[in-house]
Symmetry: D2
Amino acid sequence: MIGIIIGTNRKEAVSKQVAAYYEKLLAKKQQSTLLIDLKDMPDNMITSGLYDQAGKSEQFQKRLQEKVDQCQKFIVVVPEYNGSFPGVLKVFIDGLKFPDSVKSKKCALVGVSDGVQGGVLAMSHLTDIFNYLGMHVLALKPKLSRISQHFDGRNFSNPLYAQLIEDQVDGLITY
Amino acid sequence: MIGIIIGTNRKEAVSKQVAAYYEKLLAKKQQSTLLIDLKDMPDNMITSGLYDQAGKSEQFQKRLQEKVDQCQKFIVVVPEYNGSFPGVLKVFIDGLKFPDSVKSKKCALVGVSDGVQGGVLAMSHLTDIFNYLGMHVLALKPKLSRISQHFDGRNFSNPLYAQLIEDQVDGLITY
Amino acid sequence: MIGIIIGTNRKEAVSKQVAAYYEKLLAKKQQSTLLIDLKDMPDNMITSGLYDQAGKSEQFQKRLQEKVDQCQKFIVVVPEYNGSFPGVLKVFIDGLKFPDSVKSKKCALVGVSDGVQGGVLAMSHLTDIFNYLGMHVLALKPKLSRISQHFDGRNFSNPLYAQLIEDQVDGLITY
Amino acid sequence: MIGIIIGTNRKEAVSKQVAAYYEKLLAKKQQSTLLIDLKDMPDNMITSGLYDQAGKSEQFQKRLQEKVDQCQKFIVVVPEYNGSFPGVLKVFIDGLKFPDSVKSKKCALVGVSDGVQGGVLAMSHLTDIFNYLGMHVLALKPKLSRISQHFDGRNFSNPLYAQLIEDQVDGLITY
């Protein structure tokens, strides 16, 4: 089972649409997927779900932790925000059961930005974190910069982006 | 005015005690300080204070944004958490008014960990983020590893740590 | 075939002894290895082996490139130097044939330092570089800090270090 | 005195032209500069100028170390190469007298690439290294991506690039 993590809780996030694109692509390749949406974190996650409270929020357990536990691999859609990834993505990671949630599992990262960077620093930081937690990160990390010019919410007009994603998904399946 | 940011909202955090140490040291050096405590973020910060809601939480404005606006320099106490800094620290940054909150200001980072790393990756990631937002970061970033062995909650038994902090504070004052 | 790269050309480098330790351990596990020693780079590597000269130094081809080409996996022994890895390690990488030398291959990194960091930033930087070049990096990256206290040149007195290396080698074999 | 470091020894490097652009701009602002060109490293730098040989190469001393010693601030032109900066730039740093060469000095970084990244990871890595060595890095680090489209070797057709460089130079002068 491959989990597709939407790396933000922002409403109307393009990351959600990119996640849906991966979902369809993985379905075509006969892969089962689970969507893991940070919007499902409890509103009071920062006081109810971290540190000594980790694992105690029923909402977090049901809607997020249990899905993570079912997956051996992940696609993480990483929107660039303030020079890295959104803080809520790290809050989500900090709320997961340690260390079983991601240890010895495998993931692939994709960066999304309106600007020119495509989340390159965000993915570098996240690689450090996931490696620290024992999760392997696929080398190929597409940087989907200027996303709104190349993606209409359903399909990529930029064939390079579509190809990179296809290569990445194939890489993750055999990783 | 120098803001001292406690980089976690965890109760009983040693970072809070380290922040108090800096507060006393800066007072001795005739510097005015403001304590900026992430525990003052609203419980529902991740839905009430980010993205299109940024700046709309009265609690965040009163207890955090207004203090940040008064400071030209910052000490950021950075606890290591899951291979980087706590997600809530980035949530706090993501909730600040952009770009005036930190742009062209100056800060000094200090890493705190129970383990051996002293927050070195956390401070590297944070330097990337603050530089992206236009804030200068002092080169000297003490790594207070194995903090509980070297700090009793009030004073450092390790003279190297005390010296590094003294040097850093002097560096920030003239930075 | 697993290549073991000694990440420095310094004489008497402890990294060379660490590489020999890996060599023996891999032999015990019935793995074939090739030692790749940066001391084999030509003295004038920075003018004879880079950019438009890449691939033209016979010495580099015979002693380094051909070995790299035979390996599908690598152990890279990474000494910490000036806050990252030695410049000569990147010179070696810059001199390799692009992109076949490392693309789609797999590696494991181990950091070595006399100080307390164990090469954590060095390995973070190197992960960025290898991922960029298409090589996967094993999540487990032991940080052998204060190496001279824990390693006599042949064996580790620190059982944690020995265990981490054993786990890493097993991880790389099945990676 | 402001040193302008050309971060590569590649012949015909665009970084050399970018360095010349900074030289002219700083002259207009009545700033004295010294050009520090990595092409001046001895051919056998990796055996003659590092580790226990550091400081012993007369050529390195005369053409590079002495210039570095005269400067209190630096512009570092950082070409992107294999996902970071060229190995020779770190070799140059590794060959400098430690720690006086850069400690407590200040620098500004500018990334140059033919591709879309503009050296963002290269500058992140370099910031880690310079901070470790005690040198402050200006927050503003222009990323001159797709340089050949925006720079004719003398002037920038892209007014954003010219403006960023102007802002950066003004920032360094008062840093």
